[in-house]
Symmetry: C2
Amino acid sequence: MDSFKGDFERIEQVLNRHFSSHDPFINKVIQYILFAEGKRLRPLLTVFSARLCGKSDDAVYNLSVVPEYLHAASLLHDDVVDGGKMRRGRPPAYKIWGNKTAVLVGDFLFAKAIDLASRFGIISIARTIAETVALMSEGEIVQLLQMESQRFDEETYMEIIYKKTASLISTSCRIGALLAGAREDKVKALGEYGLYLGQAFQIIDDILDYTAEPEELGKALGTDLAEGKLTLPVAVAIKKASKNDRERLLKILREGEPSHEEFVWVSDILINTGGTDYARRQARALIRSACKALEVFSESKTRESLRELAWFVLDRRK
Amino acid sequence: MDSFKGDFERIEQVLNRHFSSHDPFINKVIQYILFAEGKRLRPLLTVFSARLCGKSDDAVYNLSVVPEYLHAASLLHDDVVDGGKMRRGRPPAYKIWGNKTAVLVGDFLFAKAIDLASRFGIISIARTIAETVALMSEGEIVQLLQMESQRFDEETYMEIIYKKTASLISTSCRIGALLAGAREDKVKALGEYGLYLGQAFQIIDDILDYTAEPEELGKALGTDLAEGKLTLPVAVAIKKASKNDRERLLKILREGEPSHEEFVWVSDILINTGGTDYARRQARALIRSACKALEVFSESKTRESLRELAWFVLDRRK
């Protein structure tokens, strides 16, 4: 990813700029959530998408931080809602400063992002961002209801990751194209690229929670299992496992706080039922579709960077 | 207020419309917060402002619910943050369904409001809403910091009520004018009207917490005192009271959960230092300024309704 270094640096500069003047306490919380080894996938996508459509001035970098702020805001609220225990190798903000601060600073970041997005004077950008924020919050709600109703099917999983994750990643691409004044077919193509990429990103994220090296992942393994979270390998395992295994798996998901033995047993079931393999295949197919969506653009260094980013998402180890 | 009945009914219809198709559980929470005897001040202001600028079609009513959703969203989050005990005569949503649901449904309402506002295709409306959401969340943060730092001065109070309350009431007026395509000076005049009205509204709200009939107010008296909330009479009392009284007052504010005797003592101090009177005078002056701002418009029934609304805000008993 070294070839993206210049872009990374400019993105970091802009990310920092909007919060230098605020109250020191709020700043500290924002810094904590915003500058914790983020991958900056969303800003990079905005920058590359705009560049692919012929625009690469300061405005592009200014816009690129909007999805990153939205992402940070949603992490703050998600951790409060899900009771997450680790985030990027550290305790989540609500554990340090309490629910109130996490809710408020999340609201503030949401608001700042929407405010920033509206300043470009392009109604299609404001609308896309607004729609995405609505989808993201619907996704959180679907997830909450899914957990309460103990539904663990693939369709619900795909709905949740579309709304919670892929919609914002798709929007990161779309707004870059919209800022560049790209034609409708190009905006659409980049939106599709982002949608496939975003789905693959989340599927891989969920697989890593069972299979990564903990020190690389930055959080304890099995967090999703402890939270009873629906992931793709789990959906497959519940469908394919024997009646006894399915019941044990559902029980572990429902009760939370699995023992190490239970975690190992679940990891084995996910592999033995073909759940993990199936999820990897799905992610790979999505990455292929993402790259295919880029074919409306002629060959260029930037198109190559977007492809590279897509395969990087598939192959990452953390 | 009987003359506004037709407008009220159309507003209620639109408020209901956007949530009929959603999950029953989410709907229940939204209904609970949205249909709890709201005064509908904000939608009425949008409708009257648009009408004063010559527009009164369906679009006006559709837009008018945007500030009401934002208001409901902020109540949901504020109650979580402030630990409020009663809201419109009932326990707040977080007390019934928990913090998680209150945060999520608040996010959802925020998002829906922003999404709706962006659909009118008018960038100035999208921008105004986005800026207001940012101000509102800043207001919550200033209030949190004020409570922690125990500052109780009038300047901080005015900053908080401007950001938390008056900005949205001002915006309710502005967006009506913007939708009607009004000239800049008319948009500005209605924005000023709303700003003065909004400040007066909050000052009166705060006075009522010490002086209303509890059954009319819909919540226990002294809620603000129990939360250690800065209000205008309190700011004056802290400045004017004797050293001993000031220290006792600060102690009660800091500790929360005042006894009945303490509540009566504080109410007396607010009156004896002239705090309550000063606040009433300020509110009255603001209402006068609000009405004066309307003078760029020629005399009409709608202008009269806006004046009537302003004096109603000043004289209300709950």
